[in-house]
């Protein structure tokens, strides 16, 4: 207690000027927080979120087909629980494996709290509330099971686990869009959070290989490759995303033979991909520049071919250095999906606009925008946290090589 007081005095009241500033800031903060709390608890009318929660989640996805999304969510949750548990069962070389480290206990507590509070706050029906509880239980249960048993699994099985994710992505595409015996749901009916996450993940997955190739091209010794990459990167980076998106909607139809042009949603997703690739290339290029030339020379003198040296020596180091910048790009890509609403697609912000155009919910801007802001903030902050954890896991200084 005494040390806390001393710290407070040192931090807030070290000099008279500091004291005045602290008191003024504290007063301002109290006023602002009080006003915000009073508004959120008394004045705000959160019915607009409750009544439209399905719309915000999936847009106009047909209700009788929504079981597919539930199935996909439970598959994703299951895979997440499995991977999480296995990560804990096979800890970093320098750490003893704790089944439940402190961060995990906090995370599980938060998840359980959210799973109970959110469906209740959204006023979902009992059946759907129960589904959310089931999903949370599935996640935590699988996490527990994999954490307990994962260490004794045969290594061959463990090698197959990362393959679950790409398989799941393809399965998810089929489940969402239909085909292969499942009824089709046209992309124009996708919306809300579903469309936001789908377009962001599609662009992130595809821009990564494209960006690495462009970065390699830009650093190539062959003038043609270098100039082609430079022109592509600079032209994309020179224009605002909204002009590219708008152009994409208008010009895809002209660039491809009649009838081959993709749906509006896919046009936007491709534009996002091409856009993000140019920025990602710059992030990767900075990573490539950080790898000393001696590394390539050493690899070559060991008899590795140029391609092998790149694959086994240069790229792993470069990508590790570039990781924070790359995740930064992914975060801004997730934020950039809001621009889809400006070309008439119904992602989160687009759905918000249609909801607020409804006379019943006129003037509920503050509630809707604040909810979206919290949602985006959580997604982006989670990505940032994940990136920092991955950085620590990949840092050669903390993980001795085996």
């Amino acid at each position: 207690m005494n040390s806390l007081l001393r710290r407070l005095r040192h931090e807030l009241f070290a000099t008279p000027g500091d004291a005045v500033l602290s008191v003024a800031l504290l007063a301002l903060l109290t006023l602002a927080m009080g006003g915000l709390l009073r508004w959120a608890l008394v004045q705000a009318n959160w019915a607009v979120i409750q009544a439209n929660s399905t719309l915000f989640a999936v847009g106009r996805y047909p209700a009788e087909q929504q079981w597919r999304l539930w199935l996909l969510t439970s598959l994703l949750v299951g895979a997440a629980g499995l991977s999480w548990g296995l990560l804990r069962a096979h800890p970093r070389a320098d750490r003893q494996g704790l089944l439940w480290p402190r961060n995990d206990r906090v995370a599980v507590g938060l998840l359980a709290g959210l799973a109970v509070w959110l469906p209740w706050a959204l006023g979902l029906t009992g059946g759907i509330q129960a589904r959310w509880w089931g999903l949370a239980a599935l996640l935590i249960g699988l996490r527990w099971l994999a954490g307990r048993q994962g260490a004794s699994w045969p290594p061959r099985l463990l090698k197959l686990v990362p393959l679950v994710w790409p398989l799941l992505y393809l399965t998810g595409m089929v489940l969402i869009g239909g085909g292969m015996g499942v009824a089709k749901v046209s992309p124009s009916e996708w919306g809300g959070l579903l469309l936001t996450l789908l377009s962001a993940s599609f662009a992130i997955l595809l821009c990564f290989p494209l960006g690495v190739l462009l970065a390699l091209g830009r650093r190539s010794e062959l003038p043609l490759l270098r100039w082609a990459s430079v022109i592509y990167i600079e032209f994309i980076r020179g224009a605002p995303l909204i002009t590219l998106l708008f152009l994409g909607q208008n010009i895809f139809g002209f660039l491809l033979p009649n009838g081959l042009a993709p749906e509006r949603v896919w046009r936007a997703a491709w534009v996002l991909t091409f856009f993000a690739a140019a920025y990602l290339a710059e992030a990767v290029r900075s990573g490539l520049a950080a790898v000393p030339t001696g590394q390539v020379e050493a690899a070559r003198s060991l008899g590795l071919s140029q391609a092998r040296a790149l694959q086994h020596v240069v790229l792993p180091q470069a990508l590790r250095v570039a990781l924070p910048a790359m995740v930064g790009q992914f975060i801004s890509l997730l934020q950039d999906t809001t621009l889809l609403s400006l070309i008439g697609l119904l992602e989160l912000l687009g759905v918000a606009r249609t909801v607020m155009a409804n006379p019943e919910f006129l003037g509920k801007n503050a509630e809707v925008y604040l909810t979206l802001a919290v949602l985006f903030w959580c997604c982006c902050a989670a990505l940032g946290l994940g990136s920092r954890a991955l950085e620590r896991r990949l840092d050669p200084r903390t993980v001795p090589s085996r």
Partner: protein
């Protein structure tokens, strides 16, 4: 050791001088082969796309031409500092949009630089509360999409302001739903503050709420990124500089202004360049708050004329030149602050 096992251990020797490698593996030829292959693929793709473009555009009667630029636009702009009305040609409309864009970019640059520098400096304050606030500001703003912030400022803050006598009033500044009114020089070179005339505010300088919302959003968003750049730059200055300055008896602010910031500037300027360029590009989101910037005029033009390729070429040209202009200015500035070797 039997010869068979030795040949297993060591790889076969490369052929010596008398048998040269085949020409397609010659080190002088391979780069050209690779480039020729890549060039061929790129050319084929471009030819395919361009061929389709020309065929489809000519089928739609939209082959590249600039004559439409001098036809009357037929739309009005809510505000513009270059005179413009519906009877004027498209190019005048685009020019008015460009003027509006420049206005937003310059205002945003100045505001975001001031805010970002202050927030970046606050991260090194001796006051823990101020440090924490600077941190919270950066973390909150960077993780929320700019477009969401812009519509928030416009629809939630600026469009719910009171009008008339109930408006927010500070000496020389009035903030109302009808706009932001600032004191200035009126006709006849006399100083005039905002005043009510028949329930409507009047002032020499009036900014529309659209412009004010755009500017607020841009300044607060870019300010957070600039704060990070400034913080990184200050952190790059060795700690000994702070200690030396304070042992000479300099105060915190004087140390920062006279000793640390001049050195940090060399690290800050390149990062600032990036942020300025993205601010210039982000100004195109003005279309979401109904401000007639270049992009929003171009969108209207495209919708009316269908000239996708030409309009896009104009947009690309203008934004690229804007980026290059900012880069050139910042590079010049960067040369000024570099250490001169003597």
């Amino acid at each position: 050791m039997p010869p068979s096992s030795s040949s297993k251990l060591s790889p076969p020797l490369p052929p010596t001088g008398d048998t040269p490698p085949p020409w397609w593996r010659d080190r002088r030829v391979v780069p050209w082969l690779v480039q020729a292959a890549v060039g061929l693929v790129v050319l084929l793709v471009i030819a395919f796309l361009l061929g389709n473009l020309v065929r489809n555009l000519s089928a739609a009667g939209l082959l590249l031409t600039w004559r439409w630029l001098s036809q009357p636009a037929g739309f009005d702009l809510a505000e513009s500092i270059v005179p413009f009305d519906a009877g004027m040609p498209y190019w005048r409309g685009l020019l008015a949009g460009l003027a509006n864009t420049l206005r937003a970019v310059v205002g945003g640059l100045v505001g975001a630089t001031v805010l970002g520098t202050l927030a970046g400096m606050a991260a090194f304050s001796s006051n823990g509360l101020l440090r924490g606030l600077a941190r919270v500001y950066v973390e909150v703003v960077r993780n929320i999409p700019l477009l969401l912030q812009l519509v928030f400022w416009y629809f939630v803050v600026f469009l719910t302001l009171p009008n008339g006598a109930a408006a927010f009033q500070l000496p020389g500044i009035v903030l109302a739903k009808s706009g932001l009114y600032v004191a200035g020089l009126a006709e006849g070179l006399r100083w005039q503050g905002p005043h009510l005339l028949n329930g409507v505010w009047q002032a020499p300088v009036r900014l529309s709420v659209e412009f004010a919302a755009l500017l607020t959003g841009l300044i607060i968003y870019s300010g957070a990124f600039i704060a990070e750049v400034v913080r990184g730059g200050i952190a790059a200055v060795p700690k000994g500089q702070w200690e030396a300055a304070s042992s000479l008896g300099l105060r915190w602010f004087t140390t920062l202004r006279r000793v640390v910031l001049p050195q940090a500037l060399r690290v800050i300027l390149p990062g600032l360049n990036t942020q300025y360029i993205s601010l210039a590009k982000n100004s195109s989101l003005a279309v979401a708050v109904g401000f007639s910037d270049l992009y929003s005029v171009a969108e209207t033009t495209l919708n009316q004329t269908g000239r996708a390729v030409e309009v896009y070429l104009i947009l690309l040209g203008v934004y690229l030149s804007l980026d290059l202009l900012i880069s050139a200015l910042m590079n010049g500035l960067n040369q000024l602050v570099q250490i001169r070797e003597r």
